[in-house]
């Protein structure tokens, strides 16, 4: 029987934020793209997920964000088994995650301010309460002067920063990012990495999928490597 989304108390007591046990996954009738994946992300840990294109990084992130279900194995998030979580219970769990998508997934009809405020708005927050935080976050990612700009008017790098700001604005317990520095220069990449590290120090568990081996090494975080659908090894990047 699936359990309900983890409560705050469960989160506080759970030793790990993510635990995948023998997970297999594939699309439709195609062969598995992930095979027997075992993964544990302790609470407050910081990991990079690397691997060549097609290795299954995005599929693994889809499983973690509950946009896909495994063919086999179990998934636990925040201490609760979510493998067969009923659809109606998924939103509450997603509100505890911050997700940065490779394609940003910004809402073009909303301003930068409204895009960043989206998770807070969906959680029932009042604009009067969250506006200062949203403006501060936009300043932090270098978009303080573009509060009212809509995504089509932003550059690729600005969209990426906006997507990251949206993912972290609600101080999620788990941050999952798919190539979050792919469209920014190295200076901004360093800055964004520091933002993820700051949130990690505040207690968030962070998993970043990236091709940027240099960034992974520079971060000093543990590196997980996916090859041919299997989590091959686990190593700490050289600081």
């Amino acid at each position: 029987m699936p359990s309900s989304p983890a409560s705050a108390a469960e989160t506080a007591s759970a030793p790990e934020t993510v635990r995948l046990s023998g997970v297999g996954f594939g699309y439709a009738d195609a062969p598995d793209v992930l095979r027997d994946v075992n993964l544990t992300l302790p609470r407050g840990s910081f990991h990079f997920l690397t691997g060549p294109s097609g290795a299954g990084k995005s599929s693994l992130l889809r499983l973690l964000t509950l946009t896909a279900r495994p063919r086999s194995g179990r998934i636990r998030l925040f201490g609760a088994d979510v493998t067969g979580l009923p659809r109606r219970q998924v939103p509450a769990l997603r509100r505890r995650m911050g997700v940065v998508f490779q394609d940003f997934r910004l809402l073009d009809h909303l301003s930068a301010f409204e895009n960043v405020a989206l998770p807070l708005r969906l959680a029932g927050g009042r604009e009067a309460d969250y506006a200062p935080d949203v403006e501060e976050m936009l300043k932090w990612v270098g978009l303080g002067a573009r509060l009212d700009a809509r995504p089509p008017a932003l550059s690729g790098g600005e969209k990426q920063r906006l997507a990251i700001a949206r993912a972290v604005i609600a101080r999620p317990g788990l941050i999952v990012a798919d190539e979050p520095t792919g469209s920014v220069d190295s200076a901004m990449a360093d800055r964004l990495l520091r933002l993820f590290q700051s949130l990690n120090r505040l207690g968030a568990t962070v998993l970043i999928a990236s091709h940027d081996q240099g960034l992974a090494e520079h971060s000093g975080a543990r590196v997980l490597r996916l090859e041919d659908g299997r989590l091959r090894d686990e190593e700490r990047a050289a600081a």
């Binding site: 896909a68 659809r87 997934r105 809402l107 009809h109």
Partner: protein, 296 residues
């Protein structure tokens, strides 16, 4: 007017899609037709019940004179007898000229002088407590009169059955139009959901529930249908008022007597349209969200 703090929050859904003006036009036309069906049903029902009421207020008695008694005398005696019965307002023996006047439209003048006509008494009944046909027959028998009472029950039954049928047909037409409006809204909702698929996925991944997402579509299509319903009802109201003015004292015709009160029938149209739209949008949205899988 509630003052919003900070900026005016935009909707979570993109601005109206290209197909929505088309949908609004379709719903307005359907509401216009539904309103006309409702007005026609009301007027037909009014006409039929008016005729039935008139028939119920009258009875006709055919008197057969006894040997040695003239028809006119027998009819006069019957009228006098019936006038004294409780539940009768007035009883009048029809003379030959009055009977000929009744038959002239069907038979013409040529044959009437040679035709043996029945001796009739027209009875106007008290609308509050009309005397029944058996009561009238009994009174006539007690007075020694050989007579047959026709209370128009056969015709009244036919008229009432016709009225019920017209009302049922109008109600069926109304329901068919409402169903068509609901189907159009459900189709538009599905199209809107498909067009906004990436937006829905983003909302879902940021913690929006299916109820919240469906609610966005329910609000959008509810307001759209309410506006379209108001336009359709206003157009139907203008046409009804025009026909009522054109029709003078009869409303329009005796068969379709319009009344100013019919305009009140149109007032719930925006609310009904919005309600149909809200339910259709919710049904379509929840069904599509459930079938879309985990992405929302």
């Amino acid at each position: 007017m509630i003052a919003l703090p900070f900026r005016n929050r935009p909707g979570l859904l993109p601005p109206a899609a290209a197909g929505e003006p088309w949908l609004m036009t379709v719903i307005a036309v359907l509401c216009f037709l539904a309103c006309l069906a409702a007005v026609a049903a009301s007027a037909a029902d009014r006409a039929a019940h008016g005729w039935a009421r008139e028939l119920g207020r009258e009875a006709t008695v055919q008197v057969r004179p006894r040997v040695g008694e003239s028809g006119a005398t027998a009819a006069a005696r019957a009228a006098e007898t019936l006038a004294g019965v409780s539940g009768v307002e007035e009883a009048e023996a029809l003379d030959r000229k009055a009977a000929e006047d009744l038959l002239r439209p069907w038979l013409g003048d040529a044959v009437l002088p040679d035709l043996p006509l029945p001796h009739l008494v027209a009875v106007r009944l008290d609308p509050a407590a009309p005397a029944s046909a058996p009561t009238l027959s009994r009174a006539l028998a007690e007075a020694g009169l050989d007579a047959t009472v026709d209370d128009h029950g056969l015709w009244r039954g036919e008229v009432e059955r016709s009225a019920a049928m017209v009302t049922a047909l109008a109600a069926a037409a109304f329901l068919a139009v409402a169903f068509a409006a609901g189907a159009a809204i459900a189709y538009a909702t599905r199209a809107g959901l498909a067009a906004a698929r990436s937006v829905i996925a983003t909302l879902s991944l940021n913690g929006a529930t299916d109820d919240r997402i469906a609610g966005l579509f329910m609000r959008r299509f509810g307001l759209l249908a309410a506006g379209a319903g108001a336009i359709g009802a206003a157009a139907a109201g203008l046409l009804t008022a025009f026909l009522r003015l054109l029709g003078g004292s009869e409303g329009l015709t005796q068969a379709l007597p319009l009344a100013w009160s019919d305009l009140l029938l149109l007032s719930p149209c925006p609310l009904v349209a919005a309600t149909v739209a809200v339910f259709a949008a919710r049904f379509a949205a929840m069904r599509m969200l459930a079938s879309n899988g985990e992405d929302g």
